[in-house]
């Protein structure tokens, strides 16, 4: 523990810490639990309209249902033990949803790897598969990004979504005179010190990090989910908190602190996996598959009965009480009081303010090298970032629960059925854009999700975020972090889409190599009617329109995928965002879906216009004939920019009634251009012709080939 922090704690305690308290504070005042470097910044985010943004997970209200969602990072554990790291990441995020008495109904993930690290990719994929599938929660979407900057520093961000009737939602603050009950796996020494581990850079040799690895038990988790949902509907079950980072310590202290009372725990009553565990080990253990409840005495019997029905261990480990003037955290073991500490000192750690920061964004020049369009398209289609991700999502059960109406690969967002209609879910990040300019990059990431929802027929309602950064001690990282948050705040206000929850992961660096600042967004939207759901699919004989910005040679296309795939460069200036245009496009697309004017839609993103068109045509299995370029006498580098350049504010839609569509677009003043028609089995435009099957082979198999060939 560093000297400054130690002094700070002892000043507030007005005494020296004992040994147990040293453990308590090193966990609770860690970056992971205490949000030391991010707390003040996170306050800037806009959560107006969110449901319980300060709880384990926030959400939005749809009819009488609370829909809760949150993302969590498990980057550090996955770097060391990809299989268990990914599994327990899912386990952790499920518990955050569960704590509100919400039934988890969907999972998503956002993964970033270095393409060569097959063992990491394989381990993470299997971890998600074995754990998520066994819990019976559909894994409906996500994204995978490959970049050299994630070598040894994979990012694994997972998101869970749950639903609860509004009047049944339980919060995490425990009032006085409640019994504290711990349900689930016996506490062992697995993962002791995990919170501290996640709060520092990875060591050179990851083998040293072993003791912090937690082990997931999906079977127990499945039982825990069912038991928790039953317990929280028992009369007298007052509050619930998941037992995650810093285990019993953080869950119980936060419950009491939020409820404004004191709490006393008797560690002798905790059910243990091993004999002779020390007080610190019991308190800090991150054994998976545990939940903490605060219940009235009269409910105890019923709660124990439920635990036994599900063959889960349970113990009554303490109680809350009114401590008179002070609110204390009291730890007893072997009949002795080992520590009595004011809760506010434990739960309100010293926070660093990252501001003011100095930094600036510089943009390098545009690319003027030529690559011919034909080979460029093949390279882009085969690049793992563009190629179909079916190798990943087919390993995850996306259909269990029979709520999935649009599955991965079908559209930019998944559609999941709830009583009130459908929720749309997606997860996105644009690390290259954030690296170029954190303020506009964060906004652009938000819009990526936003457009994914809109193009699938959903009205965006709220978002969650995961901020993956290097060490907050670096000046550059500080700047990136603060400006990313500014970007998220501004865009979320402009669109009235609140931040409902989130997570921060710092220290994603190793031996002075840092990841790109990576802002992951998970967004949720709502659609009332099944027939308004739109896939990214076109039908034969339909016309295809581009809506939104036309791309011209003057447009800014910095950060585009084709720069990195063809030239291995990250350069030039990203496009400006036009909020009015985005709103107008959203209204038009949702309205046209409702009026059945359009039948297919997708947003223009990775790979630009041609990328979007090709991916839709490959999925739809139809050819295309039309024109994408304004002028045929262009140099190749100019054509690349027009065809593959990524600007904001664009969608591609398909329709069967040309006249009606044009009339609608003109009447509502929507910028648009007719690209062509779905015909034949070739993609033909401006003198180019591509065979669908040849492209499909690259698109479908390139990831499998890259990852399964040894």
């Amino acid at each position: 523990m560093d000297k400054f922090i130690e002094n700070e704690i002892e000043k507030r305690l007005k005494r020296k810490m004992n040994e147990l308290e040293r453990h308590i504070f090193s966990a609770m005042w860690s970056e992971h639990c205490g949000y030391l470097h991010s707390k003040l910044q996170l306050k800037k985010l806009n959560s107006k309209g969110a449901l319980f943004p300060a709880e384990n997970s926030g959400g939005v209200k749809i009819g009488n249902t609370g829909v809760f969602f949150k993302v969590e990072s498990h980057n550090h554990p996955c770097a060391v033990e990809p299989y268990q790291g990914a599994a327990t990441g899912i386990g952790g995020i499920i518990r955050d949803i569960l704590a509100l008495n919400a039934r988890p109904i969907a999972l998503l993930n956002s993964l970033k790897f270095c393409e060569e690290q097959k063992h990491l990719i394989d381990g993470v994929t299997r971890g998600i598969s074995d754990y998520g599938n066994s819990c019976g929660i559909a894994n409906v979407g996500g994204e995978v990004i490959f970049d050299e900057c994630y070598r040894d520093l994979p990012l694994v961000n997972v998101m869970a979504v749950g639903i609860a009737p509004l009047d049944k939602v339980k919060l995490s603050s425990a009032k006085e005179n409640l019994e504290i009950v711990l349900l689930g796996s016996p506490t062992g020494i697995d993962g002791v010190g995990g919170a501290a581990f996640a709060s520092k850079e990875l060591k050179k040799d990851t083998k040293e990090e072993k003791i912090h690895v937690q082990i997931g038990d999906p079977f127990t988790k499945k039982k825990l989910i069912e038991a928790t949902l039953e317990i929280l509907n028992v009369e007298g079950a007052a509050a619930c908190q998941d037992c995650g980072a810093a285990g019993i310590l953080s869950s119980t202290s936060e419950m009491a602190y939020k409820g404004g009372c004191s709490i006393e725990l008797d560690l002798d009553r905790v059910h243990l996996a091993l004999k002779n565990m020390s007080a610190a080990q019991i308190l800090l253990s991150e054994t998976q598959e545990r939940m903490v409840f605060a219940v009235e005495k009269r409910a105890l019997d019923k709660v124990f009965e439920i635990a036994h029905k599900f063959e889960l261990d349970i113990s009554n480990i303490g109680k809350t009480f009114c401590g008179g003037g002070s609110r204390d955290y009291v730890i007893k073991k072997d009949g002795k009081i080992l520590s009595k500490t004011p809760l506010d000192v434990i739960c309100e750690p010293y926070c660093h303010d990252l501001e003011p920061v100095f930094g600036q964004v510089t943009h390098t020049d545009e690319i003027r090298e030529n690559v011919d369009v034909k080979s460029a398209l093949f390279k882009i289609v085969a690049s793992p970032e563009f190629a179909s991700k079916e190798w990943f999502y087919e390993q995850w059960d996306y259909a269990v629960g029979a709520r999935t109406y649009m599955q991965p690969g079908f559209s930019g967002a998944a559609a999941v059925k709830i009583d009130e209609g459908f929720i749309g879910l997606c997860m996105d990040s644009k690390p290259r854009f954030v690296k170029l300019n954190p303020y506009s990059g964060a906004k652009s990431t938000f819009l990526e999700s936003y457009r994914n929802l809109v193009s699938s027929g959903f009205e965006p309602m709220g978002f969650t975020n995961c901020l993956n950064f290097a060490s907050p001690q670096n000046e550059e990282t500080k700047y990136d972090f603060v400006r990313s948050i500014d970007g998220l705040r501004d865009i979320s206000k402009a669109f009235c889409v609140p931040a409902v929850s989130g997570n921060v992961s710092f220290y994603n660096e190793k031996e002075n190599r840092r990841i790109y600042p990576t802002v992951t967004i998970g967004m949720l939207g709502c659609c009332k009617k099944e027939e308004n759901l739109i896939g990214a699919l076109f039908k034969k004989d339909e016309r295809v329109f581009l809506l939104g910005k036309k791309i011209t040679l003057e447009s800014n296309t910095g950060g585009s995928l084709y720069h990195s795939v063809l030239f291995d460069r990250l350069c030039s200036k990203p496009d400006e965002i036009d909020i009015q245009l985005e709103l107008k496009l959203k209204d038009a697309i949702l309205d046209m879906a409702d009026k059945k004017i359009i039948s297919g839609a997708l947003d223009v993103s990775k790979g630009g216009i041609l990328g979007a068109l090709v991916s839709a045509l490959l999925k739809s299995n139809t050819g295309f004939c039309g024109s994408l370029l304004p002028d045929k006498n262009l140099e190749d580098y100019q054509k690349l920019k027009l065809l593959f350049g990524e600007t904001e504010g664009r969608y591609i839609v398909s329709c069967s009634d040309l006249v009606k569509t044009e009339a609608y677009l003109l009447k509502n003043n929507i910028p648009h251009s007719l690209l062509g028609k779905c015909v034949g089995d070739k993609i033909e435009f401006d003198g180019y012709s591509f065979n669908l099957d040849e492209l499909r082979k690259e698109y479908k198999n390139s990831i499998k080939n890259a990852l399964e060939q040894y």
């Binding site: 268990q84 990851t206 082990i215 038990d217 996996a273």
Partner: protein
């Protein structure tokens, strides 16, 4: 110039299991089932993976080393698992 080294083939059998301080969640479930089904009260299970494979090496010693490397780098994750070479035999 051609150097001829005579290589032998050895068959190795190994067991990979979780380190002792890592919880074996499968084993705990099996224990419980056997108890419930009244087959065994304290079975105290441990689970692991078994592999048998060949390496070609010039002698016993280097075969063992090679097998160890395969266990460490290919078959197990040393962060949570340990391996044990159960047998090593010369294949005729």
């Amino acid at each position: 110039m051609i150097i001829l080294t005579y290589m032998n083939t050895y068959r190795i059998k190994v067991v990979i299991s979780l380190k002792d301080d890592v919880k074996d969640v499968r084993a705990l479930t099996i224990d419980k089932m056997l108890k419930n089904a009244d087959i065994e009260q304290n079975a105290n299970f441990k689970t692991g993976r078994f592999y048998s494979f060949c390496v070609s090496s010039k002698d016993n010693q280097s075969a063992r080393e090679k097998a160890g490397r395969i266990c460490l780098e290919v078959l197990s994750n040393p962060v949570v698992e340990k391996f044990e070479i159960c047998s090593l035999e010369l294949v005729q």
